[in-house]
């Protein structure tokens, strides 16, 4: 029922921010096709069933609105791939892209 092409994989990879290679497009298209054939069986069940998104007997859990200490700047930046002047340094965000 599913029919995942190389172009479909390339599209999904773009949406998911994965710079996949040409070789991966070949391998993944076959594998994703086989997976979707298997999981697509869910379409056989009756549509007239309410969905369940989670099973915890809880709704809207909020803590008291009181200030609490959080990570200090040094700890927050400790794992950053690049930091500058006490901030995360990121590559260019605006540019030539449309």
């Amino acid at each position: 029922m599913s029919d995942i092409t190389r172009e479909d994989v390339a599209h999904l990879a773009r949406l998911a921010r994965l710079a996949v290679t040409d070789d991966e497009l070949d391998v993944f298209s076959g594998q994703l096709d086989a997976i979707l054939d298997t999981v697509g069986r869910v379409s056989e069940i009756d549509d007239d069933v309410p969905p369940t998104s989670h099973v915890a007997p809880l709704t809207n859990v909020l803590r008291a609105d009181e200030p609490e200490p959080s990570l200090d700047r040094e700890a927050a930046l400790a794992g950053a791939p690049a930091a500058e002047e006490g901030r995360f340094r990121v590559p260019r965000i605006l540019g030539e892209e449309p």
Partner: protein, 513 residues
């Protein structure tokens, strides 16, 4: 201490180690050193269960516990006992990699709640165990740091994703370990390595500091060599945590009491349901034989055994492999190369978007990429209703099947996995065949109920361990420990030796060869 003393200490279960340390017959430092030596000897053989060993910190923590005990303070029933931690739980003094290159060497700024509870209870963290990358897999072959080997047969997988925790526990590198279970990742490696593994009721063990894979399914739980040991660790880490929004504010079921009661071997009046859909065609003959024998033992212990049908379970695996990847595709968006972890291609000319894509391409392994793309597809506008929406409806049907079955039964049983551990490399190129290893364990995750795997002997055709799964209604985890402990006592009485003592010793094999 001599080598033989070291061996003796690493063969003791956690309950006995705790008793000896707290009675000051042996120090926690001696016990910890014995396990560190055992890790060194076993890892040298290539088991690959550990990604990080924190020897100095462990010895320091053990010394502190010894001082407290000498001063008359015992923090918990497990004070002084070493423990291993799956490497997807944050530890402020050890790296947390999730077995992914994208988090290579990452040092979290905080401890997971379960890790803090281990420390507060006087347990001694030994290090971090190997896993399938981000807990995605059933064989441990998806680790960026190499597969873990199964101690029963080094050419086979230990299961996954908590394969490092299971293998380490099986061979006595640690008496106890924490794992996490999203679709079977504690119970399935438990079955494959002949250890006891428990997935508690969803929401009863805090997920704060567990690196999220599929948030509506993920659950931390204990692994041990006996049912009582698993229950004791469960009691240390379980209970409400305000830092986890999905944590249930209810008392933990009396799991240790239940394990002790069960060990007396009386199951009179316990109604046990055998799930029709979790056996039969496609199941390995030796697995079915061991399972059937285990059910016979439960009957002999006084349990009333009936067969129950859960017809929607046939859709559990397909629904799981839509829901889990969907949630994963969202959860793993946090790995954006900006705040922590790997960054690739930041040469001043590339944009944030390009750096992000290059980093995720380099940092994630193939199974993680597959799941992110499946999830992205299932959540996309054209597929949402037909895939993700339908999977959520299946989830309702699974919950209904369990509700009906638990009206007739106190617990449900099945084999934990349809087969024994398979050879390394057998299923790596065929994701769908890999997913079949989760067939029996997934329904409990989708319904948020508890499931325990207890070793129930070896399959005659390959000599590999088989697991008996015991499932209970939500918040009735104690029933699994009662039934599991009763079975375990009868099993060991019948064979004359504790099952845990029959695992081959990798270090001895090494010496012999």
């Amino acid at each position: 201490m001599s080598g033989s003393d070291t061996d003796a200490l690493t063969r003791l279960d956690a309950a006995e180690l705790a008793r000896r340390v707290q009675a000051r017959e042996v120090s926690s430092v001696e016990v910890t050193r014995a396990h560190l030596e055992r890790i060194e000897a076993v890892e040298r053989t290539g088991l690959n269960a550990f990604l990080h060993v924190a020897a100095d910190q462990a010895l320091a923590a053990a010394a502190a516990v010894d001082d407290e005990i000498a001063a008359g303070t015992v923090r918990s029933p497990l004070a002084g006992v070493p423990v291993a931690i799956k490497d997807n739980m944050t530890t402020r003094d050890m790296p947390t990699t999730c077995a992914s290159r994208i988090l290579d060497g990452w040092r979290p700024p905080y401890d997971a709640t379960v890790v803090r509870r281990l420390r507060d209870a006087g347990l001694v963290p030994l290090g971090k165990t190997n896993l399938d990358e981000f807990a995605m897999g059933g064989s441990n072959e998806n680790s960026a740091y190499g597969a873990v080997r199964n101690p029963w047969d080094r050419t086979r997988v230990p299961g996954g994703s908590s394969g490092g925790s299971a293998a380490a526990t099986a061979v006595g590198e640690a008496p106890l370990a924490l794992g996490s279970d999203t679709g079977g990742s504690i119970r399935q490696p438990g079955a494959f390595t002949g250890t006891v593994g428990m997935k508690p009721t969803y929401g009863t063990v805090s997920r704060y500091g567990l690196v999220a894979f599929s948030s509506s399914l993920d659950q931390i739980g204990p692994l041990g060599r006996t049912v009582l040991d698993a229950a004791m660790l469960h009691e240390v880490v379980g209970g409400h945590d305000p830092c986890d929004q999905t944590s249930i504010d209810a008392p933990l079921p009396p799991v240790v009491e239940a394990a002790l009661a069960g060990a007396r071997g009386d199951l009179a009046g316990v109604r046990v349901g055998v799930v029709t859909e979790l056996s039969g065609e496609g199941y390995q003959p030796g697995v079915l034989a061991a399972f059937t024998d285990a059910v016979r033992v439960l009957t002999e212990l006084g349990a009333e055994v009936v067969e129950v049908s859960c017809p929607s379970f046939t859709y559990a695996m397909p629904a799981y492999y839509l829901i889990a990847p969907s949630e994963a595709s969202s959860n793993l968006a946090r790995f954006d190369a900006m705040r922590y972890g790997l960054r690739v291609g930041d040469d001043g000319s590339r944009s944030t978007d390009e750096v992000m894509s290059a980093t995720r391409e380099a940092g994630f392994g193939p199974e993680v990429k597959r799941r992110i793309m499946i999830g992205t597809h299932a959540l996309s506008a054209g597929s949402y209703d037909a895939l993700y929406g339908k999977a959520q409806k299946v989830r309702t049907l699974i919950v209904r099947d369990f509700t009906a079955a638990f009206e007739r039964c106190d617990v449900l049983v099945s084999p934990t996995v349809p087969t024994t551990a398979f050879p390394i490399g057998d299923r790596v190129d065929d994701p769908v065949s890999m997913y079949l290893a989760d067939l029996c364990t997934i329904p409990a995750n989708l319904a948020g109920i508890a499931g325990l795997s207890v070793p129930c002997g070896l399959a005659p055709e390959d000599g590999m361990p088989v697991g008996l799964q015991v499932m209970t209604p939500a918040l009735a985890d104690d029933r699994a420990y009662r039934v599991g402990a009763a079975y375990e006592t009868a099993r060991d009485a019948a064979s004359g030796v504790p099952f845990a003592s029959t695992v081959p010793d990798p270090a001895a094999l090494e010496t012999a060869s």
